[in-house]
């Protein structure tokens, strides 16, 4: 294909996207579109399955049976969401094996929030409320993204996730209605998870180079800073309602803007965690690698058995 042909294909492609048409796997797409989508969708998938670990850490210690089944079902949903997202990425011509390999060798990224430890039961509440709350803001916007399989995965994920944030908030609300010790536990969790949650929206707009392109492809519908502001505006009243204090002395309502003003994120910490120096980066990756490594013989056994069965079936038919 020569350059002129590519250009005209790309024009048609861009017009389709501008007209809110969905792009489907077999459609022509610019190589950059394919690569960007593989990167973003797989990052999203990796975040789901790495995200199972900090919460999974508390399944065996959940304080009541009701909490235990809710948490277990939530962590299981995350496995499902990882699965939907890997499947969406696979439609772009890459295998799940390759994607997992990129996760395991550290070339692929996942959301840094999961590199923070879950130290108390209240952390499970904080993750559900804040981390899922932040994720939902991103994901709801992505329902209208241009790539069909990604958009469809988002529809399913958003529907299933609707209980996740409530589950977390309810945990914290119950703690805040409990003893002093429980209230302190809840406040401590918010103190540790607040800033990392704000970091989930990524760098400031003026330092986020991909935004324009991603906006055009509807991989992003709102900028990092817009989403972050919406999250703060939504979350602060929820905290106040149950008596939690946001750990930010600069936080105050700005009547003129109609938004909360809030303090500066510690961008140095942000960069450190992204670069692998967060409190749990190594443990998280090693847990994923170990699961995959320990599962190798199982996956191989199933393939070997399937091959034997297929042989036997064809032999039976031949006789």
């Amino acid at each position: 294909m020569n350059e002129a042909q590519t250009t005209s294909l790309e024009e048609v492609f861009n017009r389709r996207i501008d007209a809110e048409e969905k792009i489907e796997p077999k459609d022509w797409m610019p190589e950059k579109y394919r690569k960007t989508h593989i990167r973003q969708i797989s990052q999203h998938a990796h975040s789901e399955i790495v995200g199972m670990l900090p919460e999974g850490n508390w399944i065996s210690r959940a304080p009541t049976l009701r909490r235990k089944v809710a948490l277990l079902a939530k962590v299981q949903d995350e496995a499902g969401h990882g699965l939907y997202l890997y499947s969406a990425a696979e439609t772009l011509g890459i295998s799940r094996d390759e994607l997992l390999d990129q996760l395991h060798d550290g070339t692929a990224k996942y959301s840094s929030i999961f590199n923070y430890p879950t130290l108390t039961w209240a952390d499970i509440g904080a993750i559900g409320w804040l981390v899922d709350g932040a994720a939902i803001m991103n994901q709801v916007a992505l329902i209208n993204t241009s790539y069909g399989p990604y958009s469809r995965a988002m529809v399913r994920i958003c529907k299933e996730e609707s209980f996740h944030q409530r589950q977390g908030y309810e945990i914290l609300m119950t703690l805040m209605k409990g003893t002093d010790e429980q209230r302190a536990m809840a406040q401590d969790a918010l103190d540790r998870w607040w800033w990392p949650s704000l970091m989930m929206f990524g760098p400031r707009d003026d330092e986020s180079p991909n935004t324009a392109q991603s906006m055009r492809w509807k991989l992003k519908r709102k900028s990092n800073d817009e989403l972050r502001q919406a999250f703060v505006d939504q979350t602060v009243p929820q905290a106040e309602l149950i008596g939690l204090r946001i750990p930010d002395p600069a936080l105050c309502w700005n009547e003129e803007r109609g938004h909360y003003d809030f303090g500066e994120i510690d961008w140095d910490e942000f960069r450190q965690v992204v670069q692998g120096n967060g409190p749990c980066n190594r443990e998280r990756l090693e847990a994923r690698r170990a699961a995959h490594r320990n599962g190798t013989w199982v996956r191989e056994a199933a393939l070997a058995h399937a091959a034997k069965q297929a042989d036997r079936d064809s032999l039976r038919k031949a006789i």
Binding site: G56, R61, P63, T174, A291
Partner: protein, 257 residues
């Protein structure tokens, strides 16, 4: 079933709790694996089994709590007993050493569990019968899942066959304890509430043998069967399972969560 005198409430509660303790400990072990499976599909499947079992546990413990009264709840029963008060069989507390152990443990329990529920759905106790009728559908799927996997591992490749056989050799000695009735179970059976446990042994061994044949696995010869769990005398693994499971309730007694 022939009905003798109905057992007293305490005996009935003990019977229900003992039955569900197996599900509790196995569900706890499976829940811990979530996020660490061989791939996402198996992770999701094993978690479903764990959730089914926890559901059965909750139905049983909620019923037992009403029988016990005195402020008992599903959670005081699940989390606040001493080790010797848990009446689960030793099999379910054995560690998840690898996927082979996980599947063999599951299969050996599922087959028994299903046979038991088949009887309990006709229990003279309405609540037990209702719980069994609901649970039996779930357990039928568990048997199917674990049997299919056992065949895949046994009839897979050399490594998987060796691992499955090793797990079977290791776990088979724990697969007879459930047929030996305790005093509570005998009383329940006599009243038409529980099952005649020794009579389950024959259909159990037949079903296990059929699947093992397909899986090309063999039962170890001259097995000395282990027991004690139902009397509250557990293996060393149990203490750690409980320490973890009970840690919140023990550290923060009497709080709402």
């Amino acid at each position: 079933m022939t009905a003798a005198a109905a057992p007293d409430t305490r005996t009935l509660a003990d019977f229900v709790i003992g039955m569900a303790d197996n599900d509790l400990i196995l569900a706890q072990q499976l829940g811990k694996l979530c996020g660490h499976g061989p791939n996402l599909e198996t992770d999701i499947a094993l978690t479903n089994i764990s959730l089914d079992l926890f559901g059965q546990v909750r139905s049983c413990f909620q019923y037992a709590a009403t029988l016990l009264g005195n402020g008992a709840t599903e959670d005081t029963i699940a989390f606040l007993r001493k080790e010797h008060e848990y009446r689960n069989v030793l099999l379910v507390e054995q560690p998840s050493l690898d996927f082979g152990h996980i599947i063999v443990r599951q299969f050996l329990y599922d087959v028994f569990h299903h046979l038991l529920l088949e009887r309990l759905q006709f229990s003279a106790d309405e609540t037990i019968a209702a719980i069994a009728r609901k649970s039996i559908k779930e357990t039928a799927y568990h048997v199917r899942f674990s049997a299919d996997w056992l065949v895949r591992l046994g009839d897979g490749n050399d490594e998987s066959r060796a691992r499955a056989q090793a797990a079977l050799d290791h776990l088979w000695p724990y697969a007879d304890e459930w047929f030996l009735p305790t005093a509570v179970e005998s009383a329940a059976a006599a009243a038409g509430i529980g099952a005649d446990l020794p009579s389950l042994r024959e259909p159990y061994q037949r079903k296990v043998a059929a699947v093992l044949r397909e899986a090309t696995l063999e039962l170890p010869a001259d097995t000395h069967f282990r027991k004690g769990g139902k009397q509250g005398i557990h293996t060393e693994h149990m203490g750690y399972i409980l320490a973890e499971m009970q840690s919140m309730q023990r550290t923060y007694p009497g709080m709402q969560w």
